[in-house]
Amino acid sequence: MTKDEIFAEATSVYDNYVEALATGTFEALQSYSRNLSERIIPRGVETHEVVGIVLLLRDVLARSLFAKYQGDFTKLNRILDAYEPAANRIANTVAVGFVQERERVIRQQQEAIRELSTPVLQVRERLLILPIIGVIDPQRARQLTEQLLRGIRTNRAKVVVIDITGVAAMDATVANHLVQTVEASRLLGATVIVTGLSPEIAQTIVNIGVDLGKMNTVGDLQGGIEQAERLLGYKVVPAGEAAAAA
């Protein structure tokens, strides 16, 4: 933030604060705090910073009240009676506004992640590819399985290559789910080849004691597709060689 920005922001925070205190209405403050959150969350401002600032402002104002009405305790008492609940409500409003905005952003991102989740792609007649990228939580794992099993049915797939190069790690639950997906695919008559297992995932799978005989794994996606083509009876040769052989 530049100096001017800080000054402008501080002024508007103060103005809103004083307005809320003077009028006892919080609508303006609510919309201001929402607007402020929208602007500062992308900058990586933390919750404790926002709440800290509001509480600091509250204390500063309280101190100035103390200083002003030191001589008259009865008056100070009455002023504090009015001031404290209002100030607390302001702090509450701002903090809730900030957290709500942040939650809205999180929800939006979750939605986005779910949407870009996972395509089931047909690369050849009867050969599907399922590239998985990113973290797999149980919910996403379930979605993946559903999509894959449905894809096998609609595309009449015989071989499926699941590529998990883009998955850094998975816990035992998800690894187990992956193995179950492989078996369920077999029940639909499709062979699954899993490619791109990272060393960590390989370790997880060994640790949960999966029978590797049931899992067909190949080092990388290219190898996986080559094996799938062999299973389907395809033979890919460069155009020149094919012409020479004919």
Binding site: T145, R156, A184
Partner: protein, 120 residues
């Protein structure tokens, strides 16, 4: 309820059309075995497309049928397991080990043809 068993060349096609009771399943097993012997069939396709539930007894019986038919020198393919059913079965640990499965009737017959070719 009885399961119709159709003869198609050297193969038998049995289509399970509704959920079967345990008694029905055992009767189906007997009937299928008899037919395999009677027609000297080379392969059997069991179509379970219509089933939206497969319990452990049904799964075990299907597996037993496959093993028994193999002892008669014929192959069995289970076809048409629904995606949801497949996943539910796996979660219950019912994986039809050692049993051939295929997507649908066509695939099942193609599988049997292939088996016949490779063994002859």
């Amino acid at each position: 309820m009885e399961v119709p068993i159709l003869k198609q060349g050297r193969y038998l096609i049995a289509t399970i059309q509704a959920a079967l009771s345990d008694e029905d399943l055992l009767q189906f097993r007997r009937a299928l075995l008899d037919r395999v012997i009677q027609f000297r069939s080379r392969g059997v396709v069991v179509d379970v497309t219509a089933l939206d539930v497969m319990d452990s007894f049904a799964t075990r019986t299907l597996r037993d049928i496959t093993y028994m038919i193999r002892l008669r020198g014929a192959d069995t393919v289970i076809v048409g397991i629904q995606p949801e059913v497949a996943f539910a079965m796996v979660q219950l640990g019912l994986t039809l080990e050692g049993v051939a499965t295929a997507l649908d009737l066509e695939e099942g017959l193609a599988h049997l043809e292939q088996r016949a070719r490779s063994s002859s």
